[in-house]
């Protein structure tokens, strides 16, 4: 039987390390493109202030990027370490986008990030700009492939279970890449990253403006951030809506939980703005807006939205069908030439995952009792209220950012950048808010998919490695300890960098070395021996 403590701890560890990693990723995504914008302006206008801005934001970017790399490598290996059955079961599909991410994206990003920092004096202006572009493109391609992988977990297309190898195998690679869930998630996620970068730059620029320091640089940065941020905020909300729309196609349970909607609503469904649970956990007091729910999720007035209770009933049917599939699978495993069992399995394989939900209660799934089936069906409901509230926090912030950046954009276009102190202070204090929205978003995506690690295919508890509780206690405590220490150091260093402000010159000449830029150039001639 599966040790549920190990499963729970594995889930905590994955959630903690993934959400921690995702503190740094969105800033990398957003800041890299803002640096691209600033450096492009520098190359086009030749004005030194833009290079100074690129360098200053680049220094903060560097600290953030180091944290992203440090925590990203853990992600790559954790699937095998903690989720080994998952790795076996879906590795044939899931491994490919991860490997392609390395090939196409992370190699590019990681190779050129070094030149971004060390290449200023070794490359032409345009050459360095190209390097900055490649770094930013690499970061964004990374996001694309990671979200192709995650999109498949939400909507496992282009694949089929193979009873001979006991795993899911790819049948249509293009379907995996062009998975509509993956595409919507990609644009939604990178937009959130751009928004995060924009708030970061705008907030620190506002701090400079309030204090009257580095005003020229801060004003220019604020203009870039305000326009970039407005575009990002619009995109993140529109594409978030797209995510909501595609989620209803594939993850009706997630939507029902987000809306705390226990009973099927007649079309067009209302949208619940606020609600509080009654003693049964179902919504008691609530404020609803008619029609809006149906519009967002089905984009129609005539399609009903299924409620949680109805979806649980549907799950019961699929579990029963999954038991038949499981029985057929056992027969195929015992005798590979059993054509009858293969015919049954071919018809039912899509419900096998629902059958596996019963593994929590008994090993011989095919003999489950009605009571166990009911329990397994009830397990398909994720935690409703945490989802309900995080969704509203995320959405509320999303709409707030549209208004906020629209205001900033308007004021910036009028040239009113540093005139309104309360707005500047508000902007300073908004600094941590994009991370709240972003982490809420991941929580919704992943917690909302529970009890599945791959929707409808593989239950989370069934996917974990056969580790001991001690293994997990050790790894979780070390990660938490090390990550906490590093986070504190990172924040202190970033504060120091902001306090020190932008450097006036790129290269500070050492004494008696007037020709310092020349000296920093590579000694090209006579390199017979390595670098001598």
């Amino acid at each position: 039987m599966i040790d549920m403590t190990v499963v729970e701890l594995s889930r905590w560890q994955f959630a903690a390390t993934a959400m921690y990693h995702f503190i740094f990723v969105p800033l990398t995504l957003g800041l890299s493109f803002m640096m691209v914008i600033m450096e492009s302006v520098y190359v086009m206008t030749g004005r030194e202030i833009w290079r100074k801005a690129t360098l200053f934001w680049g220094t903060l970017f560097g600290v953030n990027f180091a944290m992203g790399v440090a925590t990203g490598i853990v992600m790559e290996f954790q699937f095998g370490m903690n989720w080994s059955y998952y790795s076996h079961y879906v590795g044939d599909i899931f491994g490919a986008p991860l490997a392609i991410e390395g090939l196409m994206a992370f190699f590019l990003e990681a190779t050129f990030i070094g030149l971004f920092f060390f290449g200023w004096d070794r490359l032409s202006k345009v050459g360095h700009l190209v390097v900055t572009w490649l770094t930013a493109i690499g970061a964004n391609f990374s996001a694309l492939w990671i979200l192709v992988a995650n999109g498949w977990m939400q909507n496992p297309v282009g694949s089929k279970f193979n009873p001979d190898t006991m795993r899911m195998e790819i049948t249509d690679f293009m379907a995996v890449i062009f998975n509509p869930v993956a595409q919507a998630k990609f644009v939604h996620t990178v937009s959130a990253g751009y928004l995060c970068g924009a708030v970061f730059v705008l907030s620190i620029s506002a701090l400079f403006l309030v204090k009257g320091k580095h005003v020229e640089l801060a004003k220019r940065s604020a203009v870039v951030a305000a326009s970039f941020g407005l575009a990002a905020a619009l995109s993140v909300v529109v594409l978030g809506d797209e995510s909501g729309y595609v989620a209803t196609e594939h993850q009706k349970m997630k939507i029902a939980a987000l809306e705390a909607m226990y009973h099927t609503e007649a079309a067009p469904a209302p949208w619940t703005l606020l609600a509080f649970p009654d003693e049964n956990g179902e919504p008691g007091f609530q404020i609803s807006v008619p029609w809006v729910g149906g519009l967002i999720t089905t984009r129609s007035f005539d399609q009903p939205l299924p409620g949680i209770n109805e979806l649980v009933e549907r799950a019961q049917h699929r579990i029963r069908s999954g038991m038949v599939a499981y029985q057929a699978l056992q027969e195929i495993r015992a005798d590979g030439s059993n054509a009858e069992a293969r015919a049954v399995f071919d018809e039912r394989w899509a419900d096998l995952g629902y059958g596996l939900l019963l593994k929590r209660y008994r090993d011989d799934v095919q003999n489950a009792t009605d009571e166990e089936i009911a329990m397994a069906a009830a397990d398909t409901v994720p935690g409703v209220w945490p989802l309900f509230w995080t969704f509203r926090i995320m959405m509320g912030l999303g709409f707030f950012y549209i208004a906020f950046f629209a205001l900033w954009f308007y004021r910036a276009s009028r040239g009113w950048i540093d005139t309104n102190k309360p707005l500047l202070w508000l902007t300073v204090f908004l600094l941590p808010t994009p991370w709240i929205a972003i982490e809420a978003g991941w929580f919704i995506a992943e917690f909302g998919r529970q009890p599945w690690v791959v929707e409808g295919v593989l239950p989370t508890f069934y996917a974990a490695s056969s580790l001991s509780v001690l293994d997990l206690v050790l790894s979780l405590s070390f990660f938490v300890l090390l990550y906490t220490v590093l986070f504190v150091i990172m924040v202190i260093l970033m504060v120091r960098i902001v306090r020190a402000g932008p450097k006036d010159k790129l290269f500070t000449p050492s004494e008696g070395d007037e020709d310092f830029v020349m000296a920093a150039l590579p000694a090209t001639p006579a390199t017979k021996e390595l670098g001598s």
């Binding site: 680049g58 560097g62 990027f65 180091a66 440090a70 490598i73 853990v74 790559e76 290996f77 699937f79 095998g80 370490m81 903690n82 080994s84 059955y85 790795s87 590795g91 044939d92 491994g95 991860l98 490997a99 390395g102 090939l103 196409m104 992370f106 190699f107 990681a110 190779t111 070094g114 030149l115 060390f118 290449g119 070794r122 490359l123 006991m166 795993r167 195998e169 790819i170 490695s465 056969s466 580790l467 293994d471 050790l474 790894s475 590093l486 990172m490 260093l493 120091r496 290269f507 000449p509 050492s510 310092f516 830029v517 000296a519 920093a520 590579p522 000694a523 017979k528 021996e529 670098g531």
Partner: protein, 381 residues
């Protein structure tokens, strides 16, 4: 499946080779930086010397480490059961490697941002751990692969590991770990000798010679050890085109079993020969002051040593000591035919591009690193 132009067997073999390329790629490219990290506190004594070393590898180490990340991704994509079994089986060892590797990016970035000598010394040790510990444990892991890992698989392909962390530290495995540290430190030393001067280069030269000699002796000793210890031999016929099922074969323990391949395929002897020659020439090159020769020979030595481990255990990836039949081979632990083909296309397209732009970046960053040109770049470590 008829649309896939290469048969399953060929693709599995190609992926075995590609995995070798990626492992060797990391051992050499990443090894440079791990080696410099390992030597950092010993070769460089002053803050300036240490900064020279950090700025020597600083511009390119991040790209080099992607060989490891790509290696992990490639195992996941091309050989998922291997990824599942090895990473969860060696769980705590992997944890230690990860914790050590985490110290590297932050070490580089954080160290130079504060002037305090204690702060810098702390990160110097952090960077040492980030270089030494992964080098050691990856070697120990290879040693344990040759010994066989205590795992078994059930009919649902769920794997159970029955060993513990301290059982990994067997004498033979520790020997393999030291070979790994030795070859990586030798490569790091040749890099330092090639791109710096003065006392720094001189100390690196001495460390490089000693670690090279130690690598030679330990690697040769490992060869003798392998001849007398048990290796795993597949005793049934595996259909190289069949769907994966590790339990379908039979495996036996045979004394000197890991040397059998050299009888069947005599050309494989080239691997250990290149390993020994490479390291030997690196030592000679360091002695004679032939910087390029030493550097390239040390890299060739790593190529030979890693390849030796790979060809010796062919067709195995990871034998099992407690359920030998469950040992994973390239024939019964791969992805599906289609995934192997698609991934081959992706790798065939991107890997040459990666090599090209990496070469360009190395070219841009070439040249000596000295104390004089450190102070000028605010981004320097």
């Amino acid at each position: 499946m008829s649309t896939i132009p290469l048969d399953y067997e060929t693709l599995r073999l190609i992926w075995w080779l590609l995995l070798g390329v990626l492992m060797i790629g990391f051992a050499i490219m990443g090894g440079r930086d791990l080696g410099v990290g390992t030597l950092l506190p010993f070769v460089a004594r002053t803050d300036e010397e240490r900064r020279i070393l950090l700025n020597l590898i600083g511009p390119t180490w991040e790209g080099n480490q992607v060989w490891l990340i790509l290696g992990g991704g490639a195992i996941f994509a091309a050989f998922p059961p291997l990824y599942a079994v090895s990473f969860s089986g060696f769980y705590l060892a992997m944890l230690v490697i990860l914790l050590a590797l985490i110290l590297r990016p932050v070490g580089f970035k954080f160290r130079g941002k504060v002037e305090d000598p204690r702060w810098r010394a702390t990160w110097d040790w952090g960077l040492f751990i980030g270089g030494f510990v992964p080098s050691l444990i990856m070697g120990v892991a290879v040693g344990n692969v040759l010994l066989g890992a205590p795992f078994h698989i059930d009919d649902t392909m769920r794997m159970f590991y029955t060993g513990n962390f301290f059982q990994l530290l067997m004498p033979f495995a520790l020997l393999a770990g030291l070979v790994s540290v030795g070859m990586i430190a030798t490569l790091g030393a040749t890099l330092i000798v090639g791109r710096t001067d003065g006392m720094l280069a001189e100390r690196a030269r001495r460390y490089g010679i000693w670690s090279g000699l130690a690598t030679l002796v330990l690697f040769a000793l490992g060869g003798v050890w392998v001849a007398v210890m048990n290796g795993y031999v597949v005793t049934s016929v595996i259909d190289p085109n069949a769907p994966i099922n590790p339990l379908a074969k039979t495996v036996e323990l045979v004394q000197g079993g890991w040397l059998r391949n050299y009888g069947t395929y005599p050309w494989m002897i080239a691997a250990p020969v290149i390993g020994l020659l490479g390291v030997a020439v690196a030592v000679l090159g360091l002695q004679r002051g032939l910087k390029w020769t030493a550097y390239l020979a040390a890299a060739a030595g790593i190529f030979g040593i890693v390849a030796t481990a790979g060809v010796s255990i062919f067709p195995f990836f990871l034998p099992s000591s407690t359920m030998p039949n469950a040992g994973l081979t390239l024939w019964d632990a791969s992805s599906s035919h289609l995934t192997l083909f698609v991934m081959l296309l992706a790798t065939g397209f991107f890997l040459p591009i990666i090599v090209l732009y990496t070469a360009w970046v190395f070219r841009v960053m070439r040249g000596p690193v000295t104390g004089q040109n450190l102070g000028k770049n605010p981004n320097a470590y």
